[in-house]
Amino acid sequence: MPMVQPRSIRRRRLVAHLALLVFVALVVFPLLLVISISFRQGNFATGNLIPHDFSLEHWSLALGIPWERPDGSVVQPPFPVLLWLWNSIKVAVSSSLLILLLSTTSAYAFARMRFAGKAPILKGMLIFQMFPPVLSLVALYALFDRLGEYVTWLGINTHGALIVASLGGVALHIWTIKGYFESIDGSLEEAAMVDGASTWQAFRHILLPLSVPILMVVFILAFIMSIMEYPMASVLLLDENKLTLAVGAQQYLSDHNQRWGDFAAAAVLSGLPITVAFLLCQRWIVGGLTAGGVKG
């Protein structure tokens, strides 16, 4: 804290608080609005932030339960939101586990071993991770289309294809884990090796248990990235029952038929767990996002 303090500090503090509060209000407004809309009646009703015509219709529909209106008509759920959420989670968990498995072993080799081509491979990974998969969607589509003729669970319109395709993004995670491994002193593993452990055993029984925190971070990161992945899923998945949430959610707001209220409930239902998970783990995630990917 600076020892010399300028005058009029109280007024300045007040202004800062005021500015921050206004800004926070602006930022949080859309989120509060959506929560409020999800409890309003009708799909495009106006009203206050605290709804006066409170209704659970949208929530019931989002949870897949048909809703009976007061006039006796029964509204069927427009889209299988819970199924989409389940698809998203299925894909995200399997692809995160796969990514974790592959990037951990690779990161170990990059952090602890010397081998031919290590530096160029690492640099190459940094370059290639900047190419977004959107650009090669035609090629990816063709690849899975052809692959599906021989391996059915890897064809178009399968979750297998989506899971496997996420392997293209391992570079970022390898860098993150590698950075963490390098921060752990190697003497423990060295001691194990002196006692006769093989390289694999030293990795498996010494380094891995020490690295659980970073593995959790990478898992959560990969999970969130996979949940939010849109372009690949939009091209690879066709059936309504196969869609992930990221692709399916936009159907609520198609140009012809905007279901603003139904969307709000579905958005809160599916977005809230992810948001809360992110906020709970923000300390680690932020470290991984801002430093690991870029720093050597």
Partner: protein, 562 residues
């Protein structure tokens, strides 16, 4: 973490101890570096393990690898036989690499990195090369199948030989089966009636009839009342799928509610690769330059097959006015969008970070959590929230503007307002990242600099622009470049919010005023009719160049230590 005893046992194995000794010999040949590294028992002969469990698991691994190698080889052969040599080559390379890495003891370290590298190779590098390859071809929805498949498809085409018809009747044959009776008067094209045999089919259930049904000669219609036209209409689809084969081999198909007519395959393959058209009497010649069969008078027959067209796609992008105009407009907008996004998010993030670093301010943790909320909500949800809020008729934003100022802007139909909306939304989405970056960097600035400034009478603005900004801008630059590259390719935002709308008038490809190059590419490839993969790939290749330049610049700036 497991207790030490849990992993003490497997270490006591003689093979590993020996490998430890050899490793010492290896490092003696190399300059010793301070970081502890291992060479993963490189180049050592494997000894038969004394532990049966380990021996079995080792054999299981070998069997698994062999199976994987064989499975990949099977894929290679399959692709090769199908004429898809690009894919055959990809999996051949993959398989060979797998076999080499997992059989040679010298490549022990590479085994650890191989799976991840293979994943990147197949799903990042190969698609990249393949896209560049497509950009030199006319691959599109009209030139999709291989030449072989196009030929097969044409040869399978049939046509009705004109003028000849058989009138038919349906007869119930009990057990919900029917018989088809084709009456023997055959109306020839020249108007004369030539008397041929009556034909009759075996009794058959129409809903599970075989595709072809042999007919045999009959002397008289079955001894029953024929079913009426109504029954024919009811079974029209099943009848339409039937092919009747007369005793002389002529194939007959449904040609109306009362008639069957002989059909014939339309094209006959000639030895020189051309096809003869039985219907018109002409010849179809395969044209390797355009990838179509062409008729004698030069007309193209769809479908075609992809062929190399050299630089045609690039020429269209650069010189065809109907493509170049929208392309240049989108190109400029893409750069402007990415640059403005970085400037706006950085400004907001930096100002907020400076505020939050201020020691005198209370409640910083709460502010911080609230301020990074936009980052925590999944983007596909928050973008859609904004789509609803900006809705021109019912959206909350226009309702508020209407009641306050009496205006209701056309956010989705006016190009400039749509662009403004994109920037607003993207700033909302992107500033928390900059905030977090700036906060991290500001924390590393020595506090005594600010004290010195205070002694010399510097105010907060002086501090901001003379101390904070200059000190964090250098470590921030590579991250800003990465953010630029990300927004340069911010496909999700555009697709979910505007979908590129409003459209550019007079463009020959689907192009919108708010499209970025990526979404433009996506629309050319996957939206609307046409699906011009070749052109899309050419534009994607141009974006590759930009991205590669950015990432090389980034690599140079960060001075990555590997």
């Amino acid at each position: 973490m497991p207790p030490p005893s849990a992993f003490a046992l497997p270490f006591n194995n003689p093979r590993s101890r020996r490998s430890g000794a050899r490793r010492g010999a290896w490092s003696a040949r190399r300059p010793v570096i301070s970081m502890y590294t291992t060479n993963a028992s490189r180049g050592l002969p494997r000894h038969r393990s004394r532990h049966t469990g380990e021996r079995y698991s080792r054999w299981a691994m070998r069997a698994l690898m062999a199976l994987l190698t064989l499975a990949l080889l099977w894929l290679v052969v399959g692709f090769y036989l199908n004429g898809q040599w690009m894919f055959a080559l990809l999996f051949l390379v993959l398989d060979a690499a797998l076999a080499i890495v997992f059989t040679r003891r010298q490549l022990m370290s590479h085994r650890y990195v191989f799976p991840a590298l293979a994943g990147m190779g197949v799903f990042v590098i190969f698609p990249l090369l393949y896209t560049i390859g497509i950009s030199f071809s006319n691959y599109s929805s009209s030139n999709l199948l291989s030449e072989q498949r196009v030929r097969e498809q044409l040869l399978a085409e049939t046509y009705r030989v004109p003028g000849e018809t058989f009138s038919f009747q349906l007869f119930a044959a009990g057990d919900s089966r029917v018989q088809l009776f084709l009456s023997g008067s055959r109306a020839a094209g020249d108007g004369t009636d030539s008397r041929v045999e009556d034909l009759i089919s075996p009794p058959v259930r129409l809903d599970e009839a075989p595709a072809t049904l042999p007919l045999k000669a009959a002397s008289a219609p079955p001894d029953a009342e024929p079913l009426g036209v109504r029954a024919v209409i009811r079974n029209r689809q099943a009848l339409g799928e039937l092919t009747l084969v007369a005793p002389d081999g002529t194939e007959l198909r449904l040609a109306g509610l009362r008639d069957f007519a002989p059909i014939q395959s339309r094209y006959r393959a000639n030895d020189d690769g051309t096809l003869s058209d039985r219907k018109t009497g002409g010849t179809l010649t395969p044209d390797p330059a355009s990838g179509f069969f062409v008729t004698d008078d030069g007309q193209r027959i769809t479908p075609g097959w992809p062929v190399a067209v050299g630089l045609d796609n690039y020429q269209r992008v650069l010189f065809d006015p109907a493509v170049r105009g929208p392309f240049l407009q989108i190109f400029v907008w893409t750069f402007a969008f990415a640059a403005l996004t970085v400037v706006f998010t950085l400004t907001v993030g930096f100002v907020l970070a400076s505020l939050l670093q201020w020691d005198q301010l209370g409640g910083k943790a709460t502010y911080r959590t609230l301020l990074i909320l936009p980052y925590a909500v999944p983007a596909f949800i928050s973008i859609l929230i904004f789509k609803g809020m900006f809705n021109q008729q019912y959206g909350e934003i226009n309702l508020i503007l209407e009641s306050l100022f009496g205006i209701s802007p056309d956010w989705f139909t006016d190009p400039w307002l749509a662009r403004g909306m994109l920037l607003i939304v993207n700033t909302w989405l992107g500033y928390p990242y900059m905030l977090l970056l700036c906060m991290g960097l500001i924390q590393s600035i020595p506090r005594d600099l600010y004290e010195a400034s205070a002694v010399d009478g510097g105010g907060p603005l002086t501090n901001l622009f003379r101390i904070t900004l200059p000190l964090i801008i250098k470590p921030l630059t590579p991250l800003l470049i990465a953010a630029f590259a990300f927004n340069f390719n911010n496909f999700v935002l555009i697709t979910l919010l505007t979908g590129g709308a409003p459209d550019i008038i007079g463009a020959s490809t689907p192009a919108g005023t708010t499209d970025l190059l990526v979404s433009y590419t996506y629309r050319i490839a996957f939206q609307d009719a046409g699906q011009n993969f070749g052109l899309a790939a050419a534009i994607a290749t141009l974006i590759f160049v930009v991205v590669a330049a950015l990432s090389l610049l980034n690599l140079r700036l960060t001075k990555v230590k590997v």
